[in-house]
């Protein structure tokens, strides 16, 4: 038993005999929660983590953190619709972190300096995997398989890698030198690339399966969906996707004075902008859905990326929202106009919304071209029975395993419900992890993402208001066929974004807990802390007052009831 001193004086550290931790009814714990940007990213990027790396260790460390999930940041930083920024907690405070611009900056820095991917083992003695399609899904799968130690061979029908990135995204959105260099690096990461291989002509699926224990199918959707109005189609009809591909490949666009493009997706928007660039005066986009904007529910908006819709409208494209084509007006077999009608949403008996024509709202557009961009489907050739009759897309579980074909994996546009580069990259990464588990004899399990941390868990008193960076954007009058419209941000702006980041759910070593603990029960130590922070709780003395949790800016400390 401790002996008492007269007047209860104590020499330094002798008060440590009183273990005040026994008074505690709640204990503070470090609790890593996923930031909303991380949860929202279809590719699985942890933007909070690479923003933190950028602030702490600079662009290279940040890029290395980033490419642990997505090998193509210079691409996705340009073309992604960045749901991370919509989810960003900072958006409810002042302006979201400009994550796509930081991603793009890091991707460009890597290209400029020629950084190599980290984490790819030199010795890859896992089972070999074949990847069909050198688009974002296939390349992401190949890249992650390399990281996991598997030799990978990538087959593509084109002479160069890139897939849809190359064939269907205009240069003003994704400059070719950027794409080429990004492709050059990923191919150099260690995969074998076999160009000019068309599935079913140069190599069959059966041959691939005989040689490779697992095959990843990333064919994308290269064929425009069949379209007609009550069975009627004009004689010179070409789907948007093939026209877009043609324009990108050889610069040829249909000659038209005025055109109606049907559909509200990215192909429709790209095609509309291409037609404007090709000299078409009147470009109409007709979509059942709404132009994206504040207050418009996501389910009701056009599937095209909001930025692309905005820029198309800036460039003179006329978007007719909530409209459908009621009738084609033909002279002979040639189109001279379309009758469009207001589409009304009706709730069906099963609760789903159905769009029906609102009689009496018909109007006529005089156009000499109609270009349907109502979706694309998978090219059947070479897939045999894998793509079931009557189906447009490959059916697979959430790991990417094709139903009834457990050794075949797929991802990206071929799944039918994706439609973005980021989703394709995410599919490739998840499929690679699943194939790896499968090949080493472990049952693959789907990724579990925790609930993102909400803004109410943050202590905003510790953050100053600051605006998002202003990006250089090419004025409408200067926009052409190749020059990139968006100019990105500078190193200084990217660093400022890293500082603006709330670091939701993750410690950024601000010392608040250490400074404010009234019992000196937060110990600052990088040696003992095992969870990546600088701090450990001294539960012998922590009374559980909760001040650390309350004053943690990031919501990284939570109070848990004592068992």
């Amino acid at each position: 038993m401790t002996t008492l001193t007269r007047g209860a004086y104590a020499h330094p550290e002798t008060s440590l005999d009183f273990k005040t931790g026994t008074w505690r009814v709640e204990r503070p714990v470090h609790h890593h929660r996923n930031a909303p940007c991380h949860v929202a990213c279809p590719a699985g990027e942890d933007a909070q983590a690479y923003l933190a790396s950028l602030e702490e260790s600079g662009p290279r460390a940040a890029w290395e953190t980033l490419v642990a999930a997505n090998p193509l940041p210079a691409v996705t930083g340009r073309v992604c619709h960045h749901p991370c920024e919509t989810a960003c907690n900072r958006g409810a405070y002042d302006e979201s972190i400009s994550i796509h611009n930081v991603e793009r900056f890091l991707g460009d820095e890597a290209l400029r300096h020629g950084w190599d991917y980290p984490g790819i083992p030199a010795r890859r003695d896992g089972d070999a995997v074949a990847v069909v399609g050198a688009g974002p899904a296939g390349l992401a799968a190949a890249y992650h398989l390399l990281r996991l130690g598997h030799p990978v061979t990538v087959f593509d029908k084109l002479p160069v890698a890139g897939g849809t990135l190359r064939t269907a995204i205009p240069q003003y959105r994704l400059p070719r030198d950027i794409l080429d260099r990004e492709m050059e690096r990923i191919l150099a990461a260690g995969m074998e690339f076999r160009a000019h291989h068309i599935l079913g002509r140069d190599v069959s699926l059966a041959e691939l399966q005989a040689e490779y224990p697992r095959v990843f199918l990333g064919p994308g959707c290269q064929v425009g969906r069949a379209w007609s109005v009550d069975g009627v189609t004009p004689s010179d009809l070409h789907p948007g996707i093939s026209q877009l591909q043609e324009w990108i490949a050889v610069g040829a666009a249909p000659e038209a004075r005025s055109v109606a493009i049907l559909g509200g997706g990215n192909t429709a928007m790209d095609m509309a902008r291409v037609m404007r660039r090709a000299g078409t005066k009147e470009v109409h986009v007709i979509t059942h859905k709404a132009i994206p904007g504040p207050g418009v529910p996501a389910a009701d908006t056009m599937p095209a990326i909001e930025r692309e819709v905005r820029q198309a409208i800036e460039e003179g494209v006329v978007v007719h929202e909530h409209r459908g084509v009621h009738r084609l007006i033909l002279r002979g077999e040639k189109v001279i106009g379309v009758e469009i009608v207001h589409m009304k949403k009706m709730v069906q008996e099963n609760g789903r919304l159905k769009r029906i024509a609102f009689e009496g709202t018909e109007t006529v557009l005089h156009v000499d071209q109609v270009i349907p961009a109502v979706g694309q489907v998978v090219e059947r050739h070479g897939l045999g029975t894998i793509l079931a009759k009557g189906r447009d897309y490959l059916q697979a579980d959430e790991l990417g395993r094709v139903f009834q074909h457990p050794k075949l994996y797929t991802g990206g546009d071929a799944r039918g419900d994706r439609g973005t580069v980021a989703e394709a990259v995410g599919d490739g990464r998840r499929a690679a992890a699943a194939m790896h588990a499968d090949l080493i004899g472990v049952e693959p399990v789907p990724e579990v993402k925790s609930q993102p941390i909400g803004i109410e868990r943050l202590n905003l008193n510790y953050f100053e208001h600051a605006p998002a960076p202003e990006e250089k954007v090419l004025p409408v009058e200067d926009r052409g066929e190749t020059e990139e419209i968006e100019g990105g941000i500078t190193a200084r702006q990217a660093a400022a974004e890293a500082v603006r980041c709330f670091s939701c759910g993750n410690c950024f070593a601000c010392d608040n807990c250490w400074t404010l603990c009234p019992d000196n029960s937060v110990l600052k130590t990088r040696d003992v802390a095992t969870d990546g922070t600088h701090y450990v709780f001294d539960y012998d003395y922590c009374k559980g007052c909760g001040m650390c949790a309350n004053e943690c800016p990031c919501g990284f400390i939570e109070m848990e009831p004592e068992g």
Partner: protein, 388 residues
Amino acid sequence: MPLALEGSQALARTVALCRPQVVAAYPITPQTHIVENISRLVADGVFDCEFVSVESEFSAASVALGAAAAGSRAYTASASQGIMLMSEVLFNIAGLRVPMVMTCANRSVGGPLNIWNDQQDSMAVRDSGWIQLYCADNQEAIDTTIQAYRIAERTELPVMVCVDGFTLTHTLEPLELPSQEEVDAFLPPYAFSRSLDPAHPISIGTLVTPEHFSEVRHAHHTAMVKAIAEIEAADGDWQALSGRSGGALLESSGPADATVGVLTIGSIHGTLLEAMTEYPASEPVRLIKLRCFRPFPAAAIRAACAGLERLVVVERALSPGSGGIVGNEVRAALSTMEQPPRVENYAVGLGGRDVPLDLYPRLLEADGEVGGFSVFDVDVSRLAPEDQ
């Protein structure tokens, strides 16, 4: 050679003779003259100390506590509401066993507001763990203040020297002030055993859990009881040096065969001494002057009351709803005697009510209830009708 000095002035000079290094006080009637005179001595360069002007009594006591804990000889003074305001710190000083000395210029405690003398203020903090010595006159106040430092420093307990406000503090008397040499001889430089020192840091007043708090209180109580010997020794040694005694724990005067006794505390003693000459009683009366109230000298009181059949306890405070504070404690102390005297208990001179010489015969003639208590001399006609 005696000097004609006001009580407060004499106390200020006495404090200076004791050489405290730190004085912190806040003025309050009737203590103000003490502090004023100390500040004048400091300003005149007669008294070398750190004089801290504070904004309240709480701070005054806190500064003195800090100074004493850091090893200084420290002093403060207050009264009435000031004692109330510093009461939290008073408990801390005593509980931490930090030695220091303060003067309480006794005054009533409001409300209603009253600035005159009684002893309700020091009595209110009687359980704070301070030694309390009550002075019958200003010479005793001088001598007790000097002795108080020695008692405090030897026992590591704070000492409160209680001096009746106005009656003593504002009264001019011929007084003997000891020389600096005499005081220095009696009070050698002091080193506190647990002095705060940045080079060897310690924490004082740390948390004490239930495992140890009973022991803390036991140790404090035992130290107070043991202090009785130090109080007696200090008075004896001071008497050897100066020729004057304050009476240690208590002083008893009068014929040995007296069967009637009057026990007083504070300056009423002088009034009764004068009255005994003016109004000779029909029977011998023993006068007992209680000097030391904390620690409570129960054995000395029993010895002083030996042979008495009747004891009148006169005091200047009360515990409403209970009775006389001193009276009750005296009764309890006497209860172990084989033939204890009958005890009557009166509160007199409350809130500055005059204590005239004829109080003495009236007290002796009063037919007070044995074992009871009353406020003496109450004029019921002055009460509100509903309270009459």
